[in-house]
Amino acid sequence: MAGNTTLAKDFTIKELLATFVSRQVRDGERVAVGAGLHVPRAGILLAHLTRCPNVRLYVVMTFTSLLKEPRMEPFYTVYDYRPAKWAEGFILHDDFQEDPRLVSDTFVVGGLQIDKFGNSNLIGVGKDYKHLDFRGPGAVGTLSMAHYVDRYYLFVQSHDKRIFVDKCDFISTVGWGQGGADGRSKLGIPGSGPVYCITPLCIMDFDETSKRMRLKSVHPGVTVPQVVDNTGFELLIPKDVPVTEGPTEEELRTLRERIDIEGMLRK
């Protein structure tokens, strides 16, 4: 990778998160770019423009490469037709079901609730499905994509005890099920499951044996007790909790000058 690999000093938490996301991308993969989420979108594009020239981006029902774009025209929705100007090919939305792996090798899943085994809930909050306290938007394509992709990432835009609960009221996407290293295989579910849970406070991963959620790093300025106090289940805390690594000067420059030209990550 060319450019300045010195770590940057001045960046926002969203820029940090985008950088973290970018480091999850592997060159040559297919990667769905969820247009509606600024941070993952920017992170995937950052990977593409720096380390991963051979990813095949899935953008709004098209496949493309954006290597040659000096600056990204913004695209913020999964129905905006304008990114189709970059298309190398289209798929129909129903095509994805024919072979989800041809859409993406990775995916980002959100949740109204996420439990200690990484199971997540987009259906609603409440005990009675027929009379929910809060009805959610629905599963979209998350359960099928999370089932089929090689691995997926949990991503939430706030970190509190309403989201991080001991047990989801409903499960729309399986993480590690009831836990354990065989938590997925005993359900007959493929893929390596949720790898990290990415929040505005920290990055969490899963203990290799129990598959319980574990703190991996805290973002600059965040303390471990702050994470624990905002998490509704008992989070595993390793001895050493590093600070999440931020972008290099080069990454930050690419983010700001070629990707996030409207400054959504700096707001």
């Binding site: 029902m61 009805r135 399986v174």
Partner: protein
């Protein structure tokens, strides 16, 4: 005289005369794009009730509007929101919370399983994703079984056969050869599954134009074609116009007044102004105004 082909073009009233209470209707498009809104407004204007509404996957505020207007008994969808305009569709949310709406709870993979089963005339098709989730429990129409070849646990997603699909596309000839701009999202799956399909289009083009680019014919033969320029408004139309953000916010505000304060005043005013008072799609467009419409032209 040599035989001639019959035109399949209907005006919006003739098309709407096909609507019946209690029908299963699939509605094309995707979130805030490509919904056949001239026909959706006709559904409301005619007071059609007890519909089973299918999709789209993912659905959006077009379906929420039908719920607000009291047309919907059952909903088959994977997502009911408006992306950044609102995280959860307001009338859907309240109706669901009150148990007033039957929901066929599914994700996009399951949604297309149900449509494919209908198109293939199969009682169900299998899906594996969903094992270990709450879906088999909250949607009792989905059955757990063991695959007859491998023995492993599977979900059987039942066929959902729309009586009618109404979809929006850029172009069609008079003989029902539809050409979307872009992918057409999941409209093809609806067309295959439904008994009949009505395509509402921005423009009707000559058959000779269709033949210039037959690989882009996305639906080869729908049953009726309705011409309605700006017909996806307030939603986007690929290649023609972007969504009308102001109008969508007006709707969402009306929805929030109901969802947060129980006030149906704003939505009733919305329905009256934009749907019940205008008798035709042209009347609706006059209500929106030409300045607003041309301000939305894409790019």
């Amino acid at each position: 005289m040599l035989p001639e082909r019959k035109s399949l073009v209907l005006d919006e009233h003739a098309a709407a005369a096909l609507f019946r209470d209690g029908m299963t209707i699939a509605i094309g498009g995707f979130i805030n794009s490509s919904h056949p809104m001239a026909l959706v407004r006709q559904l409301i204007r005619r007071g059609i009730k007890n519909l089973t509404v299918v999709g789209a996957a993912s659905g959006g505020l077009d379906l929420d509007l039908l719920i607000a207007a009291g047309c919907v008994k059952k909903l088959v969808t994977t997502y009911m929101g408006g992306e950044h305009y609102c995280p959860v569709a307001p009338f859907f949310r309240i109706a669901a919370q009150r148990g007033e709406l039957d929901i066929f709870e599914c994700d996009e993979g399951m949604f297309y399983c149900a449509l494919r089963a209908a198109a293939q005339r199969l009682p169900s098709t299998p899906w594996k994703a969903g094992i270990g989730t709450s879906f088999p429990e909250i949607n009792p129409e989905i059955k757990l079984y063991n695959d007859p070849v491998s023995g492993e646990p599977m979900l059987a997603i039942p066929a959902i056969k729309p009586d009618l699909a109404i979809i929006y596309a850029a172009h069609s000839d008079a003989f029902g050869n539809v050409q979307h701009i872009g992918t057409g999202f999941g409209d093809r799956a609806m067309w295959r599954a439904a008994d009949k399909t009505i395509a509402q289009v921005e423009r009707i083009i000559p058959n000779e134009e269709v033949r210039k680019n037959p690989l882009t014919t996305s639906l080869v033969g729908v049953d009726a074609v309705v011409r309605a320029p700006y017909g996806s408004h307030p939603f986007a139309a690929p290649g023609y116009y972007i969504e009308d953000a102001g109008h969508i916010r007006e709707y969402v505000d009306a929805g929030n007044a109901f969802a947060k304060k129980g006030d149906r005043g704003p939505i009733n005013a919305y329905l009256e102004k934009y749907i019940l008072k205008p008798k035709t799609h042209e009347d609706y467009l006059e209500t929106i105004g030409i300045r607003r419409l041309i301000s939305l032209h894409e790019y």
